[in-house]
């Protein structure tokens, strides 16, 4: 058995806003009919949260669901539970047209923590991050600088960013540089 290691092995850049690679996380891309009751119940059963509305993510601890597109859900589970989760999906959706794939090792997860985390993301993504618009639970697929990324707000001080493993180093450095440059103050923090 190989020893699985995340893209940046838990690298941390501390500061007013801290950038932290989350380490290993189980991620399953699930495509299918999101209105199907069996698909819904297997999603909620695995994650322990309700199905998110478009543009939202419901995440608690290491588990959660992210709305990726009208026919795609990202299921987050602890890394060690991915195989069991895939088996459960296959069993429950046997007769349904669907696709479920373990993408855990193809991705990296980075936390952006601190009072001005909103500013750090806003500097890098073409997304309206005004506090009235982008709130805890909001989720967006877009790009950070030059690379594809998705992010959601866990709480008022924390963003979670997902990117491809191959660009984890770039994304981390980008966020770290943004954090070191400091807050913009445009959103007039609380």
């Amino acid at each position: 058995m190989s020893n699985a290691v995340s893209a940046l092995n838990g690298k941390v850049a501390p500061g007013e806003v801290t950038i932290r690679e989350a380490g290993l996380r189980g991620m399953i891309t699930l495509r299918g009919d999101l209105s199907d009751s069996k698909l819904k119940s297997v999603c909620t059963g695995l994650s322990g949260v309700d199905l998110p509305m478009p543009g939202h993510a419901n995440c608690v601890g290491e588990k959660g669901l992210c709305w990726m597109s009208p026919d795609e859900m990202l299921v987050l589970v602890p890394y060690a539970e991915v195989d069991a989760a895939l088996e459960l999906i296959a069993k429950n959706l046997k007769k349904k047209h669907h696709l479920a794939e373990n993408v855990s090792d193809a991705r990296a997860l980075i936390f952006v923590e601190g009072e001005y985390s909103r500013d750090m993301i806003a500097k890098l993504a073409p997304v309206d991050l005004h506090p009235d618009v982008f709130q805890p639970g909001s989720f967006r697929r877009t790009h950070l600088g030059q690379v594809a990324a998705a992010f959601w707000m866990r709480d008022v001080d924390t963003f979670e960013v997902i990117c491809f493993r191959s660009v984890a180093d770039y994304a981390f450095n980008l966020l770290e540089t943004s954090a070191k440059a400091g807050a913009v103050g445009h959103f007039n923090a609380r």
Partner: protein, 109 residues
């Protein structure tokens, strides 16, 4: 900078989140069509200064193709709509008629 509303995600996506897919509402000509019809399908495109209908893909977002009605001259966006249609929806045609009375584009007016 062009900002288009993705009808699938419901978000306003910046041009850098999108990929342009050329003219919308092309009718595919394949085996059995005349050489002229096939040539039209392959090569001949509208190139208006004004009202235009295009395909766009929300490439950094949901990955879906959608349609956009906009003005190539002023960059005004009249609206976007899902790709699963053969012609622009009436409400978008009405909106264009509001500011561009008498407009026409290909077989639509």
């Amino acid at each position: 900078m062009l900002i288009l509303h993705c009808p699938y995600c419901g978000v306003d996506a910046d041009e850098t989140d999108l990929h342009a897919g050329g003219q919308a509402h092309l009718k595919r000509e394949g085996p059995g069509s005349s050489d002229e019809a096939f040539e039209d399908y392959l090569f001949m495109r509208e190139n208006p200064k004004g009202v235009h209908f295009e395909r766009w893909r929300h490439v950094y977002g949901c990955g879906k193709w959608f349609h956009a009605a906009r003005c190539t001259s002023t960059l005004e966006v009249f609206g976007t709509y899902p790709a699963q249609t053969l012609e622009p929806p009436q409400d978008i045609k009405d909106k264009i008629s509001g500011t561009r009375p008498g407009w026409s584009w290909g077989i639509f007016k």
